[in-house]
Amino acid sequence: MNILVCIKRVPDIAGSVVLDDTGTGIDESGLGHTMSSHEECAVELAIQTAAATAGTVTVLTVGPTEAVEQLRAAVAVGANDGILVEAADPSVFAPEDIAQVIGDVVRDRAEAGQTFDLVLTGDDAADTGDFQVGIRLAYDLGYPALTNIQTISAADGDSGTGGSGPAPGGGERSSGRIEARGIGPAGTEIFALDLPAVIAVHEGGVDPRYPSITGRMKAKKATIVEYDAPEPGTGNPRIRLELPEVKASSVTILGEGPEAAPALVDVLEEIGVMRP
């Protein structure tokens, strides 16, 4: 099964944030960057699934030149190659723009002979939290979409590869069937889905692996295909960013160590949460 995983470079925020001079973005100058947590799991899920089906994993991102770091990080843990759609400021793109850009790349790669049986995204990005790109991409490609998925496997021993009908861009459309499992309101929901498909992954089903030394070496030499992002079709409806009101600490220190326990129990009794 050949899998495309769409990831996003996001600021790694540990404390409070500062807005940039425009007021429409955050000042990232003092921040590290990473990929969103759901996408870390999507990469891991892709690597496991590709290994089980003798397939490949390609990672894609729409972002600035520096986003190649996240692509190479994915290669270091087992992805085969990467695609960078260079956009100096991805924040000007709306979710529908990003989906369109990715869809165009999928079609272009299909014309070049690289087809994907499965496209994975994260459920949403840690920065924008839009929760739409995977679904909008699925509609753009004409594929079925699932979200909130934590594990996948080829159904009934199906390798998930093969050909039946045209793929986007005129290549051969892949066939196969997978089982996907996600957490629903009443328990684990199991889906059976024909490929190709788009699946948005939710953190928690797999543990992302750490890169090995050989993985890091491989990542340095990995092939990264580059595209230039087009002008966003719709653009971001953002007016500006705002920061929450900073509240002065008003903590009441009940004490130190075990001796403070009675004071806390007093508070719990006052709130009324003690079980009779």
Partner: protein
């Protein structure tokens, strides 16, 4: 017109987050919504309408009436008995006005359905909205550490409401009119239908999101076997255990217990954070807690600084002593 997609739990009752979304619609989108560039039509009363898919219990109708829902659009069809995002979204599209505001709570279901609806109606969607005024919508970004002010255009505005953006409040009760629909469900929209559901206690986060008391545990517990005192406190309070992402990442507890940006968002009467430093992603999940208690050895930690009450010290020693004190008082 403001229409709310209403989620019901397996017992057929209106979920807490849907009650919040209805309250949001009633209070923050009065008369059909904020005065943005959109031209939103709405009934003069500003009362929202609801959409329910699947079984509609009498108690749910009554609850929606107490929440001020004047009209319930009820969709029940054998092909909708099992969840399929595409089919359910199309059903919502079929009965939703072409203009106004359509919103749902920001749960996985609500997010997924509204995204499908947005695509199928050719509209934008704003996720995790927490406010609306004459300037536009306000929504959470960066895990709640920043807000995005945005303006949607288009005739139909599709929103999801961030968990605990407002408290659910009942209003002057109304008797909702219930409209039942006969629908055609396209076979293609059933490709993503749930095949089966396996109910497992480890997957159930409903107790966490509805508990009045949640005891949180972070890396500070030390190991997979370090939860005994914390679990005893959970039991004393009849509450639920919530853990940080580090804990689930280490495999000490299941993901269903994770609280935070990529876990559950909770709104208990009290949240007791034990050995949790207060990473932004975790704080995003506990914004709704009415009282925050920190038990932490680091007085300067974010969790202590943001708490209402704190005890400085080793969590095992402190929580153990709290348990002993509770037992002593019960005797």
């Amino acid at each position: 017109m403001t229409v709310v997609y209403v989620e019901t739990d397996p017992a057929g009752e209106v979920t807490l987050t849907s009650a919040e979304a209805i309250t949001f619609a009633r209070q923050l989108l009065p008369d059909g919504g904020p005065d943005t560039s959109r031209e939103v039509a709405a009934p003069p009363s500003g009362s929202p309408e609801g959409v329910v898919i699947g079984q509609l219990s009498d108690s749910a109708v009554a609850e929606l009436g107490r929440l001020g829902v004047s009209v319930i659009h009820h969709l029940e069809h054998p092909d909708l008995a099992e969840y399929s995002a595409a089919a359910w979204a199309q059903a919502i599209v079929d009965i939703t006005p072409e203009s106004g505001t359509l919103l749902a709570s920001g749960t996985p279901r609500g997010m997924e359905l509204m995204a499908h609806v947005a695509v199928r109606t050719g509209q934008r969607m704003a996720a995790n909205v927490i406010g609306a005024d004459e300037e536009g919508l306000l929504r959470q970004v960066h895990g709640g550490t920043a807000f995005e002010r945005l303006r949607l255009d288009g005739e139909l505005h599709v929103l999801t409401i961030a968990g605990h953006a407002c408290n659910p409040e009942e209003t002057t009760p109304v008797t909702p009119e219930v409209y039942d629909y006969e629908l055609d469900v396209a076979e293609a929209d059933l490709a993503t239908r749930v095949q089966r559901t396996e109910a497992e206690a480890a997957d159930d986060a409903s107790g966490l999101t509805s508990a009045r008391a949640v005891v949180g545990a972070g890396r500070g517990v030390g190991s997979e076997n370090g939860f005994s005192e914390v679990l005893e406190l959970v039991d004393h309070l009849g509450g639920a255990l919530g853990v940080s992402r580090v804990v689930t990442g280490l495999g000490w507890r299941p993901h269903a217990e994770q609280v935070g940006q990529t876990g559950s968002r909770i709104s208990p009467d009290v949240y007791i954070a034990c050995g949790i430093s207060g990473a932004i992603q975790h704080m995003a999940g506990i914004e709704g807690a009415k009282t925050l208690v920190a038990i932490n050895s680091d007085e300067e930690s974010t969790m202590v600084q943001r708490a209402d009450y704190a005890i400085i010290g080793d969590l095992h020693e402190v929580v153990g002593a709290v348990n002993e004190e509770i037992v002593r008082r019960k005797q």
